[in-house]
Amino acid sequence: MPRKPDATPSGSGGEGDRTPDLVNAIHALSQLSYAPASVGPPGPGDVAMLVGSAERVKPNARHGLRLPRLYTPPASPYLPPVSHTLALPFPAGFLRRVGRGTSEAVRAVLDVRTWAPLLVGNMRRLGVDSVPIAIFIAVFTGIVLALLSSYIFTGAVPLYFVGALVGKTIMMELGPVLTGMALAGRVGANIAAEIGTMRVTEQVDALETLAYDPNAYLVVPRVMAGTLMFPVVTTFAIAVGVASGWITAINLLDLSSPQFFKGLRLFYGFKDIWFGLVKAASFGLAVTLMGCLQGLRTRGGAEGVGRCATRAVVLGCESILVLDAFWALVLL
């Protein structure tokens, strides 16, 4: 069988020359559906040859990736083109970016001496400073929930179920989600605008020239702080929300404290707490990660910074809703 010259193993001999470079081989295979077509039927062992001659497809800084050219059979009305049959479920570029992003993330997380000194400051800035807005939201959520449940239950269900509904709803859903949404606006926009401004004013480049990894210096401490502090802030929000519902119930509804707490304990399980806190941690990770990634991708001037901040908030909120559904499916 004739074979394309490009696809012929190097003739300098021996198995040593055919040692596969795994990375390059995977890279080459991931490009198969994009390789230009050639003529001539395939020869036996073509795939083995492709892997074995990986040094021939090593990326070249000057000329880009040289790929072995693929055999394309004559056009047939019954068969799809060979490039379709070899197409990967994801674009090769996407897979490469995911691989590179993962390796950079691992490298940044392992660079502890860079991010560790910055962690506490970020925990204070992203977490502690967000407590007032979380409490503000929780107070009104508790009031509304108590009044709403009273309205629903009156005449149908004993009124002490108000405590059950307020507790369950705030612990498992509204506490984490509303706090997450509020922090997506406050924290996500803050991070994106800050890093975006650093990007457009070349401060991120300056970090690199000082031999810092921007991921380790800018991204990891913020994401760690968000992941650790969102559950803490959410805990405050839950406590305040339930307290707010209780105060509303005993003052505005025909309900006593023992009745409210009877309802609160009625369906309470420890899972109510940790379910909410697991969600809050994942929201913290998502919101801060979106903020950092959008910030680092900022281009242009003030307009670019504004755009990246908006996108960070939108993506943060969307992530919260998706994760909320995900945890409900997985953990309930």
Partner: protein, 255 residues
């Protein structure tokens, strides 16, 4: 030594560097001149690996930046000081902390860090600025802090990206004098990107003109002053019309 070996770089459809080759010898200051948008800063960013070439090689101390791993690149960056066009000072930190950041990365003892901050601020005549925020400084002072941040690392190479752009003539002259003083005191190899010809003639040992993605002419300051290349002459004399004698039709239109 820094070597650009047939480097090409494009952004979208715009080919910025096109087979660009240049050798930057040790111990001298090489000035890269060229029109705005001609790719001077792009070339400079390749030296520290902030940009990667589409084709060709950038070699620093014999190392091909495309071939080395991230640790080696970080080590190489430790030998290079970079002065950014708009200073790129960290605006949430004081001047002293801006300088400290690069030194802290090298895990120097605290007294050595303090000494170097003091020394570098003294060299740029900003001894009292250590506790000030960048927003409290003028443009010229910010540039000098940028220089101080770079030289505090005692680099082997110092790269200046448009060091006098946007400054008044007197402040520009101060920055020029500072660059000369830094070279005399540290012996570092300098690369200066500018379109300020007065600055280029003051600080440069060699001048290379970047034109249409390639080096149009390279030589000593005297050679560039005396060149009869119409494109270079038009640029260094700042004339709106090119000298049509000896120029091709393409060269007689402004880029």
């Amino acid at each position: 030594m820094i070597v650009f070996d047939r480097v090409s770089k494009a952004f979208g459809a715009k080919q910025v560097l096109d087979d660009f080759s240049l050798e930057i010898p040790e111990g001298e200051t090489t000035v890269i001149i060229g029109y705005s948008g001609s790719g001077k800063s792009v070339a400079l960013k390749h030296i520290v690996g902030l940009l990667q070439p589409d084709a060709g090689r950038v070699m620093v101390d014999g190392l091909d930046l495309a071939e080395i791993d991230r640790d080696a690149l970080a080590a190489l960056r430790g030998k290079i000081g970079y002065v950014f066009q708009f200073s790129a000072l960290f605006d949430s930190m004081t001047v002293g902390d801006n300088i400290r950041l690069g030194l802290a990365r090298r895990e120097l003892p605290e007294d050595e860090i303090a000494r170097r901050i003091e020394e570098s601020l003294a060299l740029v005549e900003l001894e009292d600025a250590a506790d000030r925020m960048p927003s409290e400084l003028s443009g010229g002072m910010r540039k000098r802090v940028g220089v101080a941040r770079a030289i505090a690392l005692h680099p082997q190479y110092i790269l200046y990206d448009e060091p006098t752009t946007g400054l008044d003539p007197v402040t520009s002259a101060v920055i020029d004098r500072l660059m000369v003083r830094v070279r005399e005191q540290s012996g570092a190899t300098g690369v200066v990107v500018t379109h300020d010809m007065r600055s280029a003639f003051t600080v440069g040992d060699r001048i290379a003109m970047l034109y249409q993605g390639q080096v149009r002419r390279v030589g000593t300051v005297a050679e560039i002053r005396e060149t009869d290349d119409p494109v270079v002459r038009q640029f260094i004399e700042g004339r709106p019309e090119p000298d049509r004698r000896g120029a091709t039709a393409q060269e007689t239109t402004l880029p």
